[in-house]
């Protein structure tokens, strides 16, 4: 698959350093899958799909490439390769979604794809200004709970502080999460403790995007091909598979 030139149709400001880009490209993808966005002779970087039709990504300006992207306007071109990787598979009727930072981006896509499920979403950020997709998730029908590290919105603290009692209370068929490594590692431990199947979307340093170079390895798996979403089933020690549990 060669990068295909796509034009930006629309951009939306999401928060202080985050913008959403809508392209004149139309794919079929799963939430959790990603694309590689290329600016010729500059760089090519991975971003989660926020929608597949039209192709949409939400980008936090954190370095040279994302800052350059933020300078682009409708009519400008970006070259896209995708959809790449394996995404979330919406399973179960009661879904718990947890997002940290721009990790909320694929979660709204997931919520829209899992319309008949009852969805609880926990969205965390450093401050209220950094929160992302809270309204979008609410519009998608999720019951949204918010945490901020400084307490400027919602509960003060990390998402795990909200997630732990939710899992303890029970009643969720599966946990879906996307965000920084530390958050995912903590959620993985919680999910194991409470025997809830989990699908976690891990970030990794992507080079080839084809499952070859090993750059994106996580626990012996190449996330560009076999992830970024890795799932495990905690609900039984008897090898009942995740899908069968639904």
């Amino acid at each position: 698959m060669l990068p295909q030139a796509a034009r930006i149709v629309e951009t939306q400001r999401e928060n202080a350093n985050t913008r959403t880009f809508v392209f004149d490209a139309h794919w079929r993808a799963r939430p959790g899958q990603f694309l590689m966005a290329w600016l010729p002779r500059f760089d090519e970087k991975p971003f989660s799909l926020v929608d597949d039709d039209p192709v949409t990504i939400t980008v936090a300006a954190v370095g040279p490439f994302t800052r350059l992207l933020h300078r682009l306007e409708p009519g400008d071109r970006v070259w896209l390769r995708g959809p790449l990787g394996r995404g979330f598979r919406p399973e179960g009727q009661r879904m718990l979604l947890v997002g940290g930072g721009y990790g909320s981006a694929p979660l709204d896509f997931l919520a829209r794809r899992a319309k008949n499920a009852a969805i609880t979403a926990v969205i965390g950020a450093r401050t209220a200004a950094d929160l992302l997709f809270v309204e979008r998730l609410a519009r998608s029908g999720a019951d949204v709970q918010v945490t901020t590290e400084d307490g400027s919105a919602g509960e003060k603290g990390l998402v795990t502080a909200v997630v732990e009692p939710l899992l303890a209370r029970g009643g969720f068929d599966a946990l879906y999460a996307c965000g920084p490594h530390g958050m995912l590692a903590a959620l993985e431990a919680l999910a194991r403790r409470h025997r809830v199947p989990a699908q976690l979307s891990w970030e990794a340093y992507m080079r080839c995007g084809l499952g070859l170079c090993g750059s994106c390895e996580h626990q012996g798996r190449v996330l560009c091909l076999e992830g970024p979403v890795l799932s495990f089933n905690n609900c039984s020690s008897r090898g009942r598979s995740f899908t069968r549990h639904v």
Partner: protein
Amino acid sequence: MPLLTPFLHLTLPSPIVLASGIWGTSAALLARAAAAGCGAVTSKSAGPEPRRGHVNPTCIDWGAGLLNAIGLPNPGATHEVDILREAKAELAHTGAALIASFFADTVENFGRVAAILAQAQPDLLEANISCPNVHSEFGEPFAATAQSAAAVTRAVKQAVPHIPLIVKLAPDTPNIGRIAAAVVDAGADAICAINTMPGMLIDVESGQPILHNRRGGVSGPALFPIALRCVYEIHQAVPNTPIIGTGGVTTGKDAAAMLMAGATAVGVGSAIHYRGPDALTLIRDELAAWLDSHGHDSPAAIHALAHREPRYDLHPTPAPIPK
């Protein structure tokens, strides 16, 4: 399965070898490749210093093959020793051999890096003198001439005489057989053939090369007949030297063809993109099934078969066949 493969002093559980630069960045991935059916696994080429590699895009599927210029990102030889040690421990129970691949910017540094990696006691060393992606930085690859290829070989053998050395050659030369003969003469114990073939892709919408490094190396199906020809010519030049035939092998039949061309073992890389993470197992099993169904009891049974010609019974004009 009839796949035991004598290779130098080793007996590999299968002739399938994980090619360098594919998955070889961590002990976990090397162990996974061994568990998937490789008889030997090659680590990502390490150099004298840590290296970030090239900016993306670094690898592209263009239809008939891949083009990559990853740019040899690696943690540097000293840190690589840790990865190799860990990998060796994880491989122990699989019987698979560990091949430590390395490169350097000068002949002397090839020797130095080899000596550092030798601390981890890999089963084999592989000198990558053929990576096309560091060309502009280091001038022509060392594999380009018989002289420079032999010089590297001598330096490594001197630095680490006790670990057998594989030298990995490049296809962009008009006489790979002569280069193979030169490195064997200089002490190489085995040859890996081939590295990728230099190429470029241009995006017509932007008018720009797609790879950030502009040039890259072609691998995958497009490389297969080129690799097969190189292996055939190398076997002609150095018939007693084992060859790891690498380039575009995607099926068990491709692997069989490599063995017939003169390879003793078969390197696999890009196939993982074309057939998914199970490619190594699929190729191994297909080769085993093919050997079985054709009455061969080992990969060695078809080794260099393409160099033995069939004889036809050509009497003078047969009489009109009575019947």
